[in-house]
Symmetry: C2
Subunit: 353 residues, 2 copies
C-alpha cells in the first residue's frame, strides 16, 4: 500500500495552492517551508500589492494559509528544510530538519514549489549602478517603499520628481545567459508606476522598454490605464548606462522609436529585474534528482499539455520553480500539481493492490 | 449525500485535462462535447503543430483522449449539448441532448471548458481584405495549409515568394471593443513563420507587430531562432491597409522604428487574429448563470490566487473560456478546475453528512 501523504516543498503561492488542493481532496499533506512564515516571495520581499488587482499580499496569502491550516491532516513545518530524500514513488523517505531537529517524513508523492529569486543586478549589469548609487533600486525595493507609503530617494530621503523603470534587467539577455523573458516585469513595473503616480501626483514616471509584454487582460487592466489615466510615459528604448550627474542620475541610451540618442536626468531609477531560480529550487531539484533546464529551473517533462510532471514519477513541480510565472500561473500549476500528486497515490494503490 | 459526478462541458485541451483529473481522482465524470470528436479547436481548425514544441496536435490530444477513455467511470458524450441546468451545488440537474436524444444527467459539480473562437476578420477590420482578396488568410488557414504540406497563394496555387503576418487583428483594439491582448498570436505567428521558412526556403517572411509578446521561454524557444536561424524579419509597424496591385497585395502602413511610411508588395498576407469567446462559452455561461466579463469570457471570481472559481459555487471554468490562454494555461487551469470540482463534492458531503 502506497503511503498516502503528500509532501509539498515551499509555502509561497504555488505551494499553498498545491497543499490546499491535496488537503481538500482528503489526503494528508506536510508543507515544508524554509522561512519562518508562509506566503513566499511576496511576503518576504514586502510587496505592496499583487499584480494586477492590487490586493494586499499579506491579507490574500494569509487567508490562504489560514484556510490551509484549518483543514484536516495538514502539517505545516516552518523554518524547515529537506535534507535528504531516498526511495521512489510511491514510497519516498525524506529527512527534514525542523528548527534544528532532524525528522523523518514518509511520502507517497512530492510537489516542488520552491520558487524564484529576483535577478541580482550587481553581477553582470554594473552599468546600471545598483550597488554604486543609492538612488538606483530594484522592483522589489520600490514595492517595499510603496508598502511603507514612503517613496523617496534613498540618498536624501526626498520624494523623487522624476522616476524611470528600466525593463529587462537580467532577462532577454544572452550575455548573462538569461535568454528567456521573465514574463511579469512589464506588468509589475507598470503597476508600480501607477502606484508611484498616485502617491506622488507631481512626479513624472517613465518606463524604458524593448517590448511591453502586457499579455491577456493586463493590456486593458494595467497598460491602458497606466498611459491614459495615470500618464505613465512609455519610451521604447535601450538604456546603456546610468551615471551620477549634479546630484541626480543621468540615464543614457537610445530612443529606438525616435531613432536618436537620449540623455535624461532622473531622481530615482528602478531596475525591472527578472526571475531566476531560487537557491531552494536549485538545491531541491538536485537533491530530488529532478531534471533542470540550462537556467536551473525545473524542467517540465511533457509540456505543453502536462505542465507539472517532471522526469521522476511521483514528483511534480509548480509555480516559478518551473520558470517565469505570474500569480495566476502559480495558482493553476499549484492546483494541477496537487491533484496529480494525489492521483499518483491512487494509481499506485491500484497497481500495488 | 451530494451527487459524486462531475460534468465537464467541452472536450478541448482544458476540458480533457479537467476530465482526466476528475477521473484520476476516482470520481465519475461525464464529458459533454458539442463536436463529433475530442481535442477542441486545434483539431477542428486543423492546426499543423502546437506552439512551442511543434508536436502533432492529433497525436498529443488523441493520446490524452485515449487515456481519459481508458479510465473507470468516464463517459464521453460527443455531438452533445447541454440544453438546461437546474439546481445548485452539489445537486445540479442537466438536460443534455445527445445525438438528437434528450438525456438527464445529475452532477455534483460542473467544469466549463468551452473555449474560444478565432476573431472574424471580416467584421470590423475590412481594411485587410480577408473576405475580398483570396491571398489574405488568417493564422488558422495557414495552419491548415502547413498541415497539408501545401503553402500556396489561394488565388493561383503557386507558392508565395513573400509572405507577411499582421499582428493584433482583433486584439488590442478599442474600436472593436477587444482591448485585451490575445496572448498567443505572437508565438503562434512566429512558429508558423518558422514552418513557412522551412517549407519554402526561398521565401521571405515578415512579421508586422506592435510589441512582440514572447513571454517566458517563448523568447528563447521561438523568437531567437525565428530571427537567427530562420531569418524571419520582424518589423515594428502598423499596417493600415492591404490593396491589390499587379496581381500581388500591397501592404501599406508605417514602420514605426524607422519612422516612415512603408509600402511592400506581398504574395500572401496572414492575419494574426485574436481570441474571442466561442459561441459555446457565451451560451453555456448564460445557461449556467455564470458571470461573464464585458468581452463575453467567463469571469474568474477571485483571481489571481484562484483562477478557476466562478460566482456560482460548484461551477468552475478552465482554459480559453476564461480569456486568452495558451496550451499550458489550458492544462494548468483544467487541472485546478477538475481538482476543485472534486474537492467541492467532498466538502458538500461533509457539510450535508
Amino acid at each position: 500500500m502506497a503511503n498516502q501523504r503528500v509532501v509539498v516543498i515551499g509555502g509561497g503561492p504555488a505551494g499553498l495552492r498545491a497543499a490546499t488542493t491535496v488537503a481538500e481532496l482528503g489526503r494528508p499533506v506536510v508543507l515544508v517551508e524554509q522561512r519562518g512564515f508562509l506566503g513566499g516571495t511576496p511576503i518576504a520581499e514586502r510587496y505592496a500589492s499583487m499584480t494586477p488587482y492590487l490586493e494586499d499580499p499579506e491579507a490574500a496569502l494569509g487567508a490562504m494559509a489560514s484556510h490551509l491550516a484549518s483543514l484536516p491532516d495538514v502539517e505545516i513545518l516552518l523554518s524547515s528544510e529537506v535534507r535528504s530524500c531516498s526511495g521512489d514513488a510511491p514510497a519516498f523517505s525524506l529527512e527534514v530538519e525542523v528548527a534544528g531537529q532532524s525528522r523523518s517524513v514518509e511520502a507517497g508523492a512530492i510537489v516542488l514549489a520552491t520558487g524564484f529569486q529576483h535577478f541580482d543586478p550587481g553581477r553582470e549589469t554594473q552599468m546600471y549602478g545598483y550597488y554604486e548609487y543609492p538612488d538606483v533600486v530594484a522592483l522589489q525595493d520600490l514595492e517595499s517603499m510603496l508598502k511603507d507609503g514612503n517613496v523617496v530617494r534613498p540618498s536624501n530621503g526626498e520624494p523623487p520628481g522624476r522616476i524611470c523603470f528600466i525593463q529587462c534587467v537580467g532577462s532577454r539577455d544572452r550575455q548573462i545567459g538569461n535568454e528567456y523573458c521573465s514574463k511579469v516585469c512589464c506588468g509589475v513595473a507598470s503597476k508600480e508606476a501607477i502606484e508611484v503616480r498616485q502617491a506622488l501626483p507631481d512626479s513624472e514616471v517613465f518606463i524604458f522598454y524593448i517590448d511591453m509584454r502586457m499579455y491577456g487582460y493586463w493590456e486593458s487592466q494595467i497598460y491602458w490605464p497606466a498611459q491614459e489615466k495615470h500618464h505613465v510615459q512609455y519610451v521604447k528604448g535601450i538604456v546603456s548606462e546610468v551615471l551620477p550627474r549634479d546630484g541626480r542620475l543621468l540615464v543614457r541610451g537610445e530612443d529606438t522609436t525616435m531613432g536618436r540618442p537620449m540623455e535624461i536626468p532622473m531622481d530615482l531609477v528602478v531596475l525591472s529585474v527578472g526571475m531566476e531560480p531560487s537557491p531552494g529550487t536549485r538545491a531541491m531539484a538536485k537533491l530530488l534528482g529532478v531534471a533542470q533546464n540550462k537556467y536551473g529551473f525545473v524542467e517540465a517533462a511533457r509540456p505543453p499539455l502536462d505542465t507539472v510532471g517532471t522526469n521522476r514519477p511521483g514528483i511534480f513541480a509548480a509555480g516559478a520553480a518551473l520558470g517565469p510565472a505570474d500569480l495566476e500561473d502559480c495558482a493553476s500549476t499549484g492546483g494541477l500539481a496537487g491533484a496529480r500528486a494525489v492521483a499518483s497515490l491512487a494509481t499506485a494503490a491500484v497497481t500495488s493492490g
